[in-house]
Every structure is written in C-alpha cells, then in structure tokens.
Amino acid sequence: MVAEAIATGAIDKGLIAIGAAIAIAGAAIGAAWAEKEIGTAAVGAMAEKPELFVSGLILTVIPETIVIFGLVIAYLIIQIA
C-alpha cells in the first residue's frame, strides 16, 4: 500500500501540502500574537488620546505583512508539486 502511494506520488504531494500549511499557519500565529500585543497597547493609548486612532490602527495591521510572507512561501512550496 505504501509502495503504491509512492509510485502514484500521493505521499510527496501530501507532504508538500503539509509544508505549505505549516508555512502559513506559523506566519498567521506569529501575526496574531503580534497584533494582540500591539492592539491592546494601541487601545490603551487611544483611551487616553483618541487622536491616536489612525496611527494605532496602522501599527496594529503592520504584522499582517507577516501573513503575506507566509502566503507567498506557501504558494512557492505548492509550486514544487
């Protein structure tokens, strides 16, 4: 059964998909953790100075770029298959 899977290339594709999933999941978890920290700090700052809303919002979404990097890496991994 294992030999058949290798012959058809099913395992290789599966492993590639898992690799891509790890790339995007790791990036997403990292971004979420960073956004949580920045978001709470931004809300704290905004509670005292509402005019900091725009800069707080921009700083909060900056870690989203990490997810884009993860997406790009995941896409490149999938291209291998």
Partner: protein, 327 residues
C-alpha cells in the same frame, strides 16, 4: 457528563487545575494585559505638566493659575471645587482631588497583577489620611477642613473618614474608630505621643508592604527609604539632634552634592527618585515598573504645583520658589 460534573465541582471548591493547562493559565494571568496598562500609563505621563508650565505658573496670579490648570487634566476638579473655594485653597484642594481621581483610575484599569502592587504602594495614602484625621481631631479642626485635606487613593474611602470624624469628639474616640484595622494597635499604644505614632505608622507601612511586594516594588521602596533616611540624617545634623546608629549604614547612604544647603540637598534627593521613576516609566517590560514610574512623576507634579502655590501665597521670592522645584 461525569467528567464535566467533577470539573465544575472542583472549580466551585476552588481547586486549582492540574498539569499542562494550569501552566498556560498561570502565564496568561501573569503577562496578558501589561501592554494595555503600561501603554495607557505612558500616554498619561506625556500629559503631565513640564518645566515650561511650571515657569509660566510662577509668573501668574492665583485665578490665572486656576484658569491655566483648567486647560489641563485638572479641568474637572477645578470646575467642581470653584464654587466652594478660591485662590490658593481652590488649587490645593483640586490637587488633592485630582491625585485621588488619577490613582483610583489607574487601579480601575490596571490588570490584576499590577493592581495588587499599586494598591500596596497606595497604602501610604491610608497612613497619610489616618495621620490627617488624628491630627485634625487633636487640633479640633472642622469636619470639612479635615475631609478636604484627605487623598482617598488607598483602601479607606471618604465615607469611612466622614463617619469616623462624626463619631469622635476626642483623640481616644478617634483612635477607637480604627478598631479591627492593622493600624489600631500602633494608634492605641502611642496615642499620647502623636509624632512617635506617626513614625511607627510609617515604619509599619514599609514593613507590611515590603513583605507582600514583588521585586520591582521592593527595589523602588528601598530607594525611597534611602532618600527618607538621608533626608532625616541631614535634618538631624542641621538641628544638632543625635541619631541612633543604623546597622549597615553605608548601604542606605546616598552620595550627596558637597553643599550645606538643605534645599539643594532635598531637591537633589527628590530628583534622584524622579529620575528612577522616569527610567522605570520608559521600560518595555511585563511588570508594574512603568505604572510605578508614572505614580512618582504624578506625585512630583502635584508637589511642584503645591510649592508654587504655597510659595506665592507666602510671598516668597520667585527664585527661591524655582530653587525648590524638582524638574
């Protein structure tokens, strides 16, 4: 189902969760929320009055100072008290009220770990209020006068002191109002010697807080004790009083500038504490240090305004007032 019931019962009985999950909860309790509390406090610190504001205030009359303060964080308190007081008293009582409101606000928005340490530090206002209450009672001051001097930022609220003042006509009765509190034995023992009682209350504050405080607060309180001891030593030297020998004296002594001037030394020591506070407020760590840094800076701001107002009401020369400001 059985598992769920057992779990709920364990929670009801206050049992702690075992194993891996208990570790996760422990980390969450200790760390999450510091970003909110510390950043909010750091923003509050940017709104504190600076050197320029104090210099402007020194050249103003009392109504002008009150008007100037209305444009800052003191707006609410000045507006509230403007109908009852005027001139130096209005500013003085607004400062007390603002300090109380600010510290209560910090307790309200702090996360639990910070809140506990802040409450411990603010116990000093309980001690201060008890001293004011007893001194006020001893000198037969009116209820309103005593109440307006209180800063209810500690665990004892205004209602407690209002009731206590109403129920006590002499010092003995005033001392009895503190029955059941940790301060009662000290007050009862030294009720015939108010200054000794005040010293013992201060010592009790430091002892009780140092027992429960976390290392960050302990380090700051150690500095505060150093400053107080050095100031007391200087005052004793100036007045020719002999002080008891303190064990390990070099550890609690601070290096002072080579001057005999009492004001210069006092400002130097206060500046030392303020700089410690500023350094603490700039730290990006998951602990209570930024909040403590803010508390010190806020107390210093209040003290500076008080020096200006009281200096002006006593007609002191401006250069002497400026010399006493800690900036």
């Amino acid at each position: 189902m059985e598992l769920q019931t057992g779990f709920l019962e364990r929670i009801k009985n206050g049992e702690k969760k075992q194993g891996f999950f208990s570790k996760i909860n422990f980390r969450q309790k200790k760390t999450s929320g510091y970003a909110y509390t510390n950043t909010r406090v750091r923003v509050m610190k940017t709104k504190l009055l600076g050197k320029n504001d104090f210099q402007k205030m020194m050249n103003m009359s009392f109504p002008e100072i009150a008007r100037y303060m209305q444009e800052t964080e003191y707006n609410k308190e000045i507006s509230l008290l403007a109908t009852s007081y005027n001139n130096a008293n209005l500013i003085e009582y607004s400062l007390n009220k603002n300090l109380e409101n600010t510290f209560n606000k910090i307790i309200a928005f702090s996360i639990k770990a910070s809140e506990e340490q802040v409450k411990l530090y603010l116990k000093k206002f309980d001690i201060l209020n008890i001293k004011t209450f007893l001194r006020g009672n001893f000198s037969e001051q009116r209820e309103e006068t005593i109440i307006s001097q209180l800063v209810c930022a500690g665990s004892l609220d205004k209602k407690f002191f209002e009731n206590a003042i109403k129920k006590s006509s002499c010092l003995e009765e005033a001392a009895m109002q503190l029955k059941g509190m940790e301060y009662f034995n000290i007050v009862k023992e030294f009720k015939n010697n108010l200054s000794k009682m005040e010293d013992e209350l201060d010592k009790h504050y430091y002892k009780s807080v140092l027992e429960k405080a976390e290392p960050e607060l302990v380090a700051f309180l150690a500095d505060e004790i150093k400053v107080k001891n050095t100031l007391n030593r200087l005052r004793a030297q100036k007045t020719g009083i002999k002080m008891e020998k303190i064990e390990n004296e070099s550890a609690i002594k601070l290096a002072l500038p080579k001057t005999e001037d009492c004001i210069e030394n006092r400002v130097f020591l206060k500046k030392f504490l303020l700089e410690r506070g500023n350094k603490m407020a700039r730290e990006f760590k998951r602990n209570v240090r930024p909040v403590l840094g803010y508390l010190i800076a806020k107390e210093n701001e209040i003290s500076n305004i008080r020096i200006i107002v009281r200096g002006k009401s006593s007609n002191l020369p401006l250069n002497l007032i400026e010399q006493q400001l800690v900036m």
